[in-house]
Amino acid sequence: MREITYSEAIREAMVEEMRANPSVFLMGEDVGVFNGVWGVSNGMLAEFGHERVRDTAISELNIIGSGLGAALVGMRPIVEIMFGDFLMCAGDQLVNQVAKARFMSGGKANVPLTIRVASGAPGSSAAQHSQSPESWFMNVPGLKIVTPATPADAKGLLKTAIRGEDPVLFFEHKMLYALTGPVPEDPDFMVPFGQAAIVREGKDVTIIGVGIMVQKALAAARQLSSKGIDAEVIDPRTLVPLDKDTLIKSVAKTGRVVIAHEAHRRSGPGAEISAILAEEAIECLDGPIIRIGAMNVPLPYSPELENHVLPNENDIIQAALKLCGKA
């Protein structure tokens, strides 16, 4: 299969859907003339024009809120939030309008709205340009939350989001944009929500990775195997809905689990995953559920501090070794 980048995969999903369906369009800050700050929408203005690749004012609240309005009258907006850190500028629209519109209307509102969010720490970008907000809206019923870790998943999950009828927060890790991988060309290739990927099979310890940490978990697993530990790596791919069956099945097999995400440890996505396992699979566990995440401190500018604060491959290795009694 041809290989493309995560960024190209996302663009391809958008472009194909926009070609196929005139209701689909893209709007956000600098997505057009500037080609997107992350370059994801590069060239799309040239193909689709200002009508369908819309540069907005710097107004996150209105971007997301008018995405909802457009969805309610039958459009299928894709909106881009340049940095996940800015999501909270539209917090109320997300929590009180977008998430609840369907339910409050007795199930009648249709909200096919995809919110693409560039998240994670791109390096020395400090506290307001580095956050991983994946868990910030998990407590809010009505949103779906997606965290692709590979180019293929990025494309397939984005298509599921755009073609679906519910609002989706689609988190793209900035440091994954350049990652290359095989991506199907079939325009109907879709990755279903709520289906975790077992990206590496193993029997000794389960490593659940979220977003970019899937890549780090795989690297950790390779190193662990050289120490005689056979790690299973699982990518939930969507946090809401969450495929807990696959997670539980894996834990039932290995008896050991490490959960890794770049978000801060406290109340990150790992808290929910851990709590589910502690509620539904505790009898399978041979040891503690270890969570790996950023320390509970705003992301520092200093590269040395930032490195120290962010979770890495070695943190996963150490946790796995500890669980396997080899630390």
């Binding site: 107004s59 809120g65 309005g69 309610l72 009180n96 309008q97 409050m104 209307s105």
Partner: protein, 338 residues
């Protein structure tokens, strides 16, 4: 201030049908509110009610200037908007009574009534929450080249939320077919407008967004109707948004039970003397098109309709707890999202 012609004269000839309908809907709004308050006291309605008694002309005048294909976003004080846009009191009352056949199947209540078929995108519990929704709907219409507009109702208090600013700015840039319709009733909850807003006429804010701001007498339904009709024409012609500020007043508390320490009886009465329904009724009689009997007949039909609505609501089924999780998502991915 732009007002309808004085001395109970009508500037332009209106068909008697539409005049009757103006009267009927305003009466229906007024009576709906009074009846809902009564039914709340009686226990049929569990949630709180923000009544729009006094603001009938703005709600009905604005909505009747729209076509059925146009959409509105409404507020916490939305019953008038819903009725104005053609909402059925039966399903409204059933919703207030938290029953299954209510507009939101009992899930939403007064604050969240929506009817997408009628272009009612929803009441809203969040002050200012509906602005971006209206600009987004207008964007959809513009992109599809449909001759439709979105009208956002809002209060003086809502004008100070950031959402107003962001939506108005973007609507101005894109010349979206949207009408920002302000019902300025001088108070946001217990806070008088002059205590939280540094200007008297909020319509001047429109200048900052490059579109016209118009002030109308919100107690004069024809003035409201004409202003919205004109704004709609502008919008449809591609000339962009209009902000309309209608000066009006709510007669009752912010919500039922509000002790209203923040205003005087005299102030309330001074507005009641300008009552939109009373004035319009007099105008209809003076026009010679209607006599008192005609109007009492309309009034009677409204009461009958509400009796029916209440009976319908009271006997309607309550939502079943087995369905508690229904309607959060279109697609539950085999139940996984819960």
């Amino acid at each position: 201030m732009r007002t309808g012609p004085e001395a109970n004269e009508m500037k332009e000839p209106y068909e008697s049908d539409i005049l009757a309908e103006f009267f009927r809907r305003m009466t229906l709004v007024r009576e709906f509110e009074l009846r809902a308050i009564e039914e709340r006291r009686g226990g049929l309605i569990p949630g709180f009610i923000h009544s729009c008694v006094g603001q009938e002309a703005t709600a009905v005048g604005a909505c009747m200037a729209l076509s059925q294909e146009d959409v509105i976003t409404s507020t916490h004080r939305g019953h008038g908007h819903l009725i104005g846009k053609g909402g059925d009191p039966k399903y409204m009352m059933a919703e207030l009574a938290a029953r299954s056949p209510g507009y939101c199947n009992g899930r939403g209540g007064s604050l969240h009534i929506a009817d997408f078929k009628l272009g009612i995108l929803g009441a809203n519990g969040i002050v200012g929450g509906g602005f971006p929704m209206a600009t987004g709907a207008a964007l959809g219409f513009q992109m599809r080249k449909e001759k439709r507009v979105a009208l956002a109702f809002f209060g003086d208090g809502a004008t100070n939320e950031g959402s107003f600013h962001e939506a108005a700015n973007q609507a101005g840039v894109w010349k979206l077919p949207v009408i920002f319709f302000l019902e300025n009733n001088l108070y946001g909850e217990g806070t008088a407008m002059h205590r939280c807003t540094p200007i008297e006429d909020l319509a001047i804010r429109a200048q900052g967004y490059g579109f016209p701001g118009v002030i109308v007498d919100g107690m004069d339904i024809l003035a409201v109707y004409e202003a919205v009709r004109e704004a709609r024409e502008r919008a449809i012609a591609g000339d962009g948004p209009t902000m309309i500020e209608a000066k009006t007043y709510r007669y009752r508390g912010h919500y039922e039970g509000d002790p209203q320490v923040y205003r005087t009886q005299e102030e309330i009465q001074s507005w009641q003397r300008k009552d939109a329904i009373v004035r319009f009724r007099a105008k209809l009689v003076d026009s010679g098109l209607f006599d008192d009997g005609d109007l009492e007949e309309i009034q009677g039909s409204v009461i009958a309709q509400l009796d029916e609505a209440v009976a319908f609501a009271a006997s309607a089924e309550k939502p079943a707890v087995e369905d508690a999780l229904a309607g959060v998502y279109a697609d539950t991915h085999n139940g996984l999202v819960f």
